[in-house]
């Protein structure tokens, strides 16, 4: 077996050293009747050539690559420079463990320190952790963090937060002493209904968690939200599911929010059928001791040379056990390093111009879709790269099938998550779409309506 370096002779001499006849003797503690199951359901080994063949077949039985996609909703198709793939594939980044021994882990540690820095620059926050699992769990951690820090039992969640994120939050808090209440949206703007928010906030409220751009693609009024929450001494957490928007929009920090968390898959991670992605969390400095997850900090070695270490681990499970700020151990370190590679490669101008291209393309779609009969933008202003269209007198599923017959994946039907939006479709357009492809979507839509 190519993964097993012991030879039979090695095994024999090792058994001699151990004074056993048969390696099976090492398992004598295991109840005999359960020892060495046959596992007949599992096929025998495949050679590397057959393994590759098998996976090529599996790959070929996917058909999505024949379709022009307009799917977003928390997972975005963006350009990834090839240099990112090459560098992140290096075994030296791929195969270490969590950098517990900093003297031989400066590669990963410095890369993560740089990641943390770029995340703070993009969000306008003071500090960032080293990653969380994904956007949805980052949102849940943000909620728990606000609750811990505020010591208040009640957290508000915007209806326009990604429905999967809300589901995850619900699962995370179901057994904890936290009450979560939903703040609904203004159906005309797609934004948080600020009046309702104001009415719901009270002195029991630890914080408000909202997404911007929100699930409908609409940019929220973060400044107003931050002000409202602060008026009852509660925190505000802005969730960002499309990290690319950070390079287009005013940083959440400048709006006064206390915490930004979300999904950074857009920064160099492929769609990958949903994972691994990259949860991030950046906050004001005051949250530091309550932050979940790993944190890398700068220090010096005994010769006073700059170096990096995992730090503030007294927050963590391996020290604090059940009183830790979270149970996270393995995080998404490599994804963070890869996203740092992406951000560094795109650079200041690149990231901004790609973000602009996202918006410009989406704006072009908006211009054109408005000329179609029987279809409208549900929320006609303040979107980044995602819009909701409302189809008049039509089931949105019919439209989707029609588009599919034109080899287009036209978007995500909102009724999956919001039954009241049965006539709405969430459409994502990025820098990857050519003008002609947007035109193709418009024409296919026009042909149906």
């Amino acid at each position: 077996m190519r993964f097993l370096p012991l030879t039979d002779a090695d095994r024999e001499s090792m058994r001699r050293c151990l004074g056993i006849k048969d390696t099976a003797d090492l398992f004598a503690d295991i109840p005999e009747r359960f020892r060495f199951p046959t596992l007949s359901e599992i096929p025998e080994a495949l050679g590397e050539n057959r393994l590759l063949e098998r996976f090529r077949e599996l790959a070929a039985s996917n058909r999505h690559d024949e379709y022009l996609p307009f799917l977003g909703a928390g997972a975005y198709r963006h350009f990834i420079p090839e240099v990112v793939a090459h560098l992140s594939a290096k075994g030296e980044f791929l195969t270490p463990y969590t950098p517990y021994q900093p003297e031989v882990s400066q590669g990963s540690l410095q890369a993560i320190f740089e990641y943390q820095t770029m995340i703070t620059q993009l969000t306008g926050m003071d500090i960032s952790n080293a990653s969380l699992y994904d956007g949805g769990t980052a949102a849940a951690e943000a909620l728990l963090l606000m609750q811990r820090k505020s010591r208040r039992p009640r957290i508000l969640v915007a209806e326009s937060l990604h429905p999967e994120y809300r589901e995850i939050i619900q699962s995370y808090i179901q057994n904890l002493d936290i009450q979560v209440e939903t703040v609904s949206m203004d159906p005309s703007t797609g934004r948080v209904d600020l009046e309702k928010l104001k009415a719901t906030l009270n002195s029991e409220t630890g914080g408000f968690i909202f997404q911007s751009p929100n699930f409908f693609g609409v940019i929220e009024e973060s400044s107003a939200i931050a002000k409202l929450t602060h008026s009852v001494d509660a925190y505000s957490a802005q969730i960002v599911a499309e990290a690319m928007s950070l390079a287009f929009l005013k940083p959440p920090g400048e709006h006064g929010v206390d915490l930004v968390a979300g999904e950074a898959q857009s920064f160099g991670l492929p769609l990958g059928f949903g994972g691994p992605y990259l949860g991030f969390m950046a906050t004001k400095a005051e949250f530091l001791r309550q932050l979940p997850g790993r944190i890398v900090g700068e220090t010096v070695d005994v010769e006073n040379r700059r170096g990096y270490v995992l730090t503030l681990s007294t927050r963590e499970q391996h020290i604090k056990r059940e009183r830790a700020t979270s149970n996270i151990c393995t995080n998404q370190a490599w994804c963070a390093v890869r996203s740092a590679m992406y951000m560094a490669t795109m650079g200041h101008d690149g990231l901004i111009s790609i973000a602009r291209a996202n918006h410009t393309n989406t704006a072009y779609f908006a211009d054109r879709v408005r000329t179609l009969p029987n279809i409208e933008l549900a929320f006609p202003r303040n979107f980044f790269n995602e819009v909701v269209v409302r189809v008049k007198n039509r089931q949105v599923d019919d439209l989707l099938s029609h588009l599919e017959s034109h080899r287009i994946l036209g978007g995500i039907p909102l009724h999956w998550f919001y039954p009241e939006f049965a006539d709405c479709l969430l459409i994502n357009i990025t820098e990857m779409h050519r003008k002609s492809e947007i035109d193709r979507l418009i024409n296919a839509m026009g042909g149906m309506l």
Binding site: A45, M118, L288
Partner: protein, 481 residues
Amino acid sequence: MNALPELLFDKSRPGKTGYSFESDPIPETEQYVDPELQRAGIADFPSLSEVEIVRHYTNLSHLNHSVDSGFYPLGSCTMKYNPKVNETIAAMPSFTNAHPYTPHHLVQGNIGIMRDLEARLCAITGMKAFSLSPAAGAHGELTGMMLIRNCLSHRGNPRRIVLVPDSAHGTNPASAHFAGYNVKEIPSGPDGVLEPHTLREHLDKDVAALMLTNPNTLGIFERHICELATALHENGSMLYMDGANMNALMGIARPGDLGVDVLHLNLHKTFATPHGGGGPGSGPVGVADHLAPFLPPPVIPKQDGSGPRYHIPDTIGRIKNFYGNFLVMVRALAYLMSLGRSGLRNVAEDAVLNANYIRCRLSELLDLPYQSRTLHEVVFSDKGLPVSTLDIAKRLLDYGIHPFTIYFPLIVHGAMMIEPTETESLETLDLFVTAMKEILTEAESDADMVRNAPYNTPLRRLDEVQAARHPVLRWQPREQE
């Protein structure tokens, strides 16, 4: 070669570009976004050319110890070799380019991968169903504890307490806590395993479950597991197994047969997916039949051609976006296919043989606090040594060897937790043993020398106290420093 590269931000110069992307020209459009919502620039964000990026990360990469570069016997972490063919497979465009909300009939290959992986994990563990959603081991634990809680609630009472042996990994109590339980630590017995009478002493109607790592963090098989399971079940409690150490058991014994109700696996350990310097992982959760109704969505149906199920009446609810870490699952399945049925047992046998060889060779030199038979790893203590476990660990770095896990499990004084894994050769094990011998000789003759190690690493011992006291967590432009 050894100096740390300058930071990206120090190298950056406005006007440099590392990328090239061509967008289509788009006609002038209406202004849709309020100007005050837009940003101008990103202060201090780096600008570098492509060659500078390549050199930066190439040079950083050389500062890492990794499985690809040497021995990494980090106990409990199963730092085994990650086959390269899995990387090729996980990079196939059909997998990397698939959007998670693609209509199911267009991604039957991907769904087939998850279905096959689940089936194999069921076969290996004897569990009846799996959720592939959890992102890592700890996430699997949380999911598993939620499953238990929901199931008990369904039976009328979620109960309040989860028992965790004192040898458990920190994630166990933390996860139980985040599932809303109070954690009660219980002691392991003198031979390092949980005694049924200890369990019984703590067992009452408040106990929801026992979280048991098996083999435990001392590397010892919890040989009373069947009895423990029976006691728990008779009390209406459940047995959670932390399966992070499944590398010792696959092909050897199936937790489902032993009475386990729910367990998690670490694909990034047992199933050879690379650990990435700290993730991503994947921590599937396997359950006995009675817990299956509570699994989080999406649930992959067993029959070919159908899509995942989202509406599960009794579910604990979603715990992760989309399907979980799919590209990690792809690697794990590729690994399982490479091993095949017999390979599983071969792997476990060699892993256990290697660990026992280390144990046998080092037990003349080091204190072995527990004499019980051990499986895939062995834990020594620094009792009686002139230097500490930390010193030995740091000195090992000078020998080009990554240290074992140190100071865990907490029940061993100055624990050295050594897990060689099956992908190490006898030559490597012998080199390690020799290095340990030399270090102990060095420690006898010149303890200070060992205490000041390492000497030959890119940096020498780092000041972790300063890092925590005066946290510098991001680069700042010089002016503001």
